[in-house]
């Protein structure tokens, strides 16, 4: 019959602030197999450890759960202490109620419940733990890295630099992975080839690294320290030692085009007829000309009030510009929006003159009145409000445009009245355009 002791640590305020340690201790005391359950300010301190060792001896414990920090932190501490007083160290487990619980949550009630769950799971584990004795087995000092993308390459180089042999396996004919397909990397916009290519050369030059490209893992057996892995090298019918990478065989291969033609699903097939017609009218005159993308996107936005995703896909197909580039352009420029906008668009000019004369008060007032932040649209799709770069009507500052009508020397009171005006006009005569 298991006799388990549970010790809950406060870790000062680290745990106690978000987890009710006493409540967890009380709960753990009720669990099957638990004979003693205590909480203490710092379990890793000398007095804390003494509480545990005293209890192991006095209560004849067969297993221990310490609910505190991550096992990476103190598992070794507690196991060593337990072993000193005669408990098999492998019957001691830690429940991580700090990194996995108190530090990660903001609701004390829910965090306490979660801590209880974590403790209960560990109690169940300890109930099933068997006393273990460490043994020594020989280990092959060789590492396999699977996948030779930038991460795999760097891992292989690091391990090799530490003096171990590395087997690097890559499924594709060439190493490099996604990194080889990128131009620049986030967030520093460094040239990705400049990062990748020297490392590609390094793995070839290292005598510690054995590279298998165009190979896949069939089977992984064994255990930590002594894995047995079956690697299947795919047939490539090329003598790599002689190959210069000229690419002629690739170009002349008779079966290449038969197998590699991807099935392209055109967005045109799912566009409704109206949208297709509108977009064709915009795109046809632009086809084949340089520098038309901005203008095309502006026309699309004029037509739809925003840039619908399918419209952008269609633009991409028709102009033969990658979708990613179009998306990037659409996100970069303030004038474009990917979300549908409200019926009425209110813009508050953010020019210097307008700022000096109180534009920020107008922004605050709109936020209060409409209950949205700038750039957002009201739920009923009536109003969108945007802050906009200088409209060049500085002499009339502060300036607000409502549906492209300029309103100068704007005040909070005037603005709210204008809003009311639009709402009542919409209510009485929905077909009438909002007055300027």
């Amino acid at each position: 019959m298991a006799r388990i002791g549970v010790f809950i640590c406060w870790c000062g305020a680290n745990i106690a602030e978000m987890v009710d340690a006493a409540a967890v201790a009380e709960y753990a005391g009720q669990l099957p197999g638990v004979v003693v359950s205590k909480d203490y300010r710092y379990m890793c301190s000398d007095p804390g450890q003494r509480i545990m060792t005293d209890s192991i001896q006095e209560d004849n414990l067969t297993g221990v759960v310490v609910a505190s920090c991550s096992p990476r932190m103190h598992e070794a501490t507690f196991r060593k202490t337990a072993a000193i007083v005669g408990l098999n160290p492998y019957t001691l487990e830690m429940a991580n109620i700090r990194e996995h619980c108190s530090w990660a949550h903001t609701d004390r009630g829910q965090a306490t419940e979660k801590a209880k769950d974590l403790v209960r799971m560990m109690v169940e584990k300890v109930r099933r733990n068997q006393p273990l004795e460490p043994v020594r087995v020989p280990v092959t000092q060789r590492v396999m890295v699977i996948g030779a993308g930038i991460a795999g390459i760097q891992a292989a180089l690091d391990v090799a630099a530490a003096g171990h042999e590395v087997v690097l396996v890559e499924r594709e004919p060439s190493v490099g992975g996604h990194m080889a397909q990128l131009d620049e990397t986030f967030p520093t916009l460094d040239c990705s080839q400049c990062i990748l290519t020297p490392r590609m050369v390094d793995i070839m030059q290292s005598d510690k690294i054995k590279l298998y490209t165009y190979a896949e893992i069939d089977e992984v057996g064994g255990y930590i320290g002594n894995f047995e892995v079956k690697v299947r090298k795919k047939a490539r019918s090329v003598d790599i030692d002689k190959c210069t990478g000229c690419g002629d065989c690739y170009n002349y291969c008779l079966s290449r085009n038969k197998i590699s033609i991807p099935v392209i699903v055109s967005v045109a097939d799912r566009l409704d007829a109206d949208m297709k017609k509108t977009l064709d009218e915009i795109l046809d005159p632009a086809a084949g000309r340089r520098g038309v993308l901005l203008g095309v996107l502006q026309d699309v936005q004029d037509a739809y009030n925003y840039l619908p995703a399918d419209a952008l896909r269609y633009v991409s197909e028709k102009l033969n510009i990658p979708f990613s580039r179009i998306y990037g352009v659409a996100r970069f420029y303030n004038a474009f929006t990917l979300e549908p906008r409200g019926e009425h668009i209110i813009r508050v000019c953010q020019g210097t003159a307008c700022h000096l004369k109180g534009a920020s008060l107008l922004v605050d007032a709109l936020g209060r009145e409409l209950g949205i932040r700038d750039g957002e649209t009201t739920k009923d799709m009536q109003f969108t409000f945007e802050r906009v770069n200088c409209l060049g009507a500085c002499a009339m500052s502060p300036v607000v445009t409502i549906d492209d009508q300029y309103h100068g020397q704007m005040t909070t009171a005037k603005l709210l009245k204008a809003l009311e005006g639009i709402e009542s006009a919409d209510a009485s005569r929905p077909e009438m355009e909002a007055a300027g």
């Binding site: 967030p187 520093t188 916009l189 340089r290 520098g291 038309v292 993308l293 901005l294 203008g295 996107l297 502006q298 510009i321 580039r325 990037g328 352009v329 970069f332 420029y333 303030n334 004038a335 474009f336 953010q350 020019g351 210097t352 003159a353 307008c354 700022h355 000096l356 004369k357 109180g358 008060l361 605050d364 007032a365 209060r368 906009v388 770069n389 200088c390 409209l391 060049g392 009507a393 500085c394 002499a395 009339m396 500052s397 300036v399 492209d404 300029y406 309103h407 100068g408 005040t411 909070t412 009171a413």
Partner: protein, 619 residues
């Protein structure tokens, strides 16, 4: 009305010009209505329509009503000028239309109530040229302001438009044109002030099977609208300048890059392009001279960084507008890798008049290092806001006080901000500074594109710096680290200071960060981004210290550091503020001084802006 036929020869153009010139009677009465944004906001469109209707009704439909480009005095719009005398009516409403036609146009009388009265001297002025706002200006780029209808190419040709182009095409070699520009001393009006002639020469000498020229109309500086008004009111001058430039450089194709926030400028330029095409002044074999040049318009899409030339070119090419390292300069490798010359709107608009009147004449205006005039948008807390054109070298004091009529509500001048987010704040003590490219830089400012933003004592300089950095964090393209991260960090510190949470060493950290960002950013956006911070710390360090140490905002702007209150002596109990207050925080009996409950107050500022007696104060 001439029929729009393509002109195939230089002679045909000359005949058309003569015809148009002779048809113009200098004694003819013309009603000129300003049609630019400022006046439009105040209803000039309706006034112009009503005037057209009224002249017809009163049987004088021989009197043309012209909607013209910006007259400049936006503060007093809508503006109506009766030519040829130049009678200047301001703040004209629909109710005045009948009287203008009946009394002034037909009767030749002046309507005193519509004249401009100087608020300081109470003197009334009858003619546009006498009004102090105009009297001190010297109009070169805007010389046709208010006189020609920007929508009619014929008006422009009649006053000598496109004649400079003809002169260049028929009498001058490209090298001579470049030489003329160099001798004129014209420097780029976009801000940096690079000599235009030299720039053209670089591009002319660059190797390339195809060359481009670009007009940078991406006037992104907040508080500047000169280029917008030039494109709207003088589109053909820009086109003609580009044609001359294209000939000198050897370009066959050009782009006008105009920011999308300027719908009027886009409309005006689009119309001008069509007209120039129809007359054969653009396109293949212009006027039979063998010179071909075509131009198209690209709308920007709301990205400040696209004012930077390499970002602008990326944008025209249809890419994300992020700048790149220079060299290679655009003159060597620009649009699609071809030699490209980029000039600002105002620079291009200066070109025809230099060719027309000669480099020596142009060089006689201005200072030693900066020739010609500069158009400024004079805005902010100044009485006469609007568009002004003055010779280089005029002092800031003359611009702010003589032309601008001093500070609103008789308050004290604190600083003038020049050069947009890249520029700096010039304090009151330096108002006798002569405005040209070099002097402004010495004072920690920058010419920039020409926004002059006047700040009074109720402006918080820390808030101004915070405002510009907020703008720049939004507009940083994110390509290089110093600008993306550094400007953001500086902005965070300024936000904190404005929220009353500044720390003692914040000023030092700002200065240190500023140096890093300045030295290591990729393009001018980042390189000049710290300027608003540096110049405000330099001249207004005490305001920073007041925020950090005393938790006070001397300008009464930073919300977290101010409280609103009502001055019982000034309050007349009109109840207007109480009615507008969204929190019902203001109470009081009618005609008795009101009180403001600070517990309820959310500092929205409505009472402050509503009070007609200046009784609401901040502390």
């Amino acid at each position: 009305m001439t029929t729009l036929t393509r002109l195939d020869t230089v002679e045909a153009f000359g005949e058309l010009r003569e015809f148009l010139r002779l048809r113009q009677d200098p004694r003819q009465t013309v009603i000129s209505v300003c049609g630019f944004t400022g006046c439009k906001v105040n209803g000039s469109d309706a006034v112009a329509e009503a005037l057209k209707e009224e002249v017809r009704k009163q049987g004088r439909d021989d009197v043309p009503v012209k909607v013209t480009g910006c007259h400049g005095f936006c503060e007093k719009g809508p503006l109506v000028v009766i030519l040829p005398q130049g009678i200047f009516y301001q703040k004209v409403g629909l109710k005045d239309v009948e009287a203008i036609v009946e009394k002034t146009v037909i009767g030749g009388e002046i309507i005193p109530s519509l004249l401009y009265t100087d608020p300081r001297t109470k003197e009334q002025y009858k003619l546009e040229s006498e009004v102090p706002f105009y009297a001190k200006q010297e109009r070169v780029v805007c010389r046709h302001s208010g006189k020609i209808d920007a929508a009619r190419i014929e008006d422009y040709i009649a006053v000598g438009g496109y004649s400079s182009m003809v002169k260049v095409l028929t009498e001058m070699a490209p090298e001579e044109v470049i030489d003329e520009m160099k001798r004129s001393g014209l420097r780029g009006r976009g801000g940096a002030g690079f000599p235009t002639g030299k720039k053209w020469e670089f591009c002319r000498m660059a190797e390339g099977d195809e060359k481009f020229i670009v007009c940078n109309g991406d006037e992104g500086d907040p508080g500047a609208f000169m280029d917008g008004s030039i494109m709207d009111g003088h589109p053909h001058a820009v086109l003609e300048g580009m044609l001359i430039g294209a000939y000198a450089i050897g370009a066959t194709h050009g782009y006008l890059y105009v920011r999308t926030e300027y719908p009027l400028a886009i409309r005006s330029l689009t119309r001008a392009l069509e007209q120039a095409h129809d007359y054969g002044l653009l396109g293949e074999n212009i006027l039979g001279t063998g010179f071909s040049f075509d131009l198209e318009l690209t709308r920007g899409a709301g990205a400040f960084v696209c004012g930077e030339e390499t970002a602008l070119m990326a944008s025209i090419e249809g890419n994300i507008g992020s700048p790149r390292q220079r060299p290679p300069f655009p003159a060597v490798s620009g649009l699609w890798g071809k030699p490209t010359n980029i000039n600002n709107v105002e620079t291009w608009a200066n070109v025809p008049v230099i060719i027309d009147r000669g480099a020596e004449w142009f060089a006689s205006i201005g200072t030693e290092g900066s020739k010609g005039t500069k158009v400024f948008s004079l805005v902010g807390k100044v009485n006469n806001t609007g568009l002004v054109e003055v010779p280089m070298g005029m002092t800031l004091r003359e611009i702010v006080y003589d032309i601008g009529g001093g500070i609103q509500k008789g308050r004290k001048l604190k600083a003038v901000q020049t050069g947009g987010p890249s520029g700096g704040c010039i304090p009151e003590s330096l108002m006798d500074l002569r405005v040209d490219f070099d002097e402004l830089v010495k004072a920690g400012g920058m010419m920039g594109s020409g926004g002059l933003i006047v700040m009074d004592e109720r402006t918080c300089m820390v808030d101004v710096a915070r405002y510009f950095l907020e703008f720049l964090t939004d507009e940083s393209c994110g390509k290089c680290n110093p600008c993306r991260e550094g400007v953001q960090q500086m902005h965070n510190i300024l936000e904190r200071i404005c929220a009353g949470e500044g720390k003692d060493d914040d000023i030092d950290i700002l200065l240190e960060l500023a140096e890093y960002v300045k030295d290591s950013s990729l393009c001018a956006l980042g390189g000049t981004a710290p300027n608003p911070v540096l110049s405000t710390i330099k001249h207004f360090r005490d305001e920073y210290e007041a925020h950090i140490r005393d938790h006070k905002c001397p300008g009464g702007v930073c919300k977290a550091l101010i409280q609103y209150g009502i001055n019982a002596d000034a309050c007349k109990g009109c109840e207007r503020c109480a009615k507008e207050c969204p929190q019902d925080a203001i109470t009081g009996e009618k005609k008795q001084p009101h009180t403001l409950d600070r517990e309820k107050c959310i500092k929205c500022g409505v009472c402050f802006e509503t009070c007609p007696f200046d009784a609401v104060y901040t502390e």
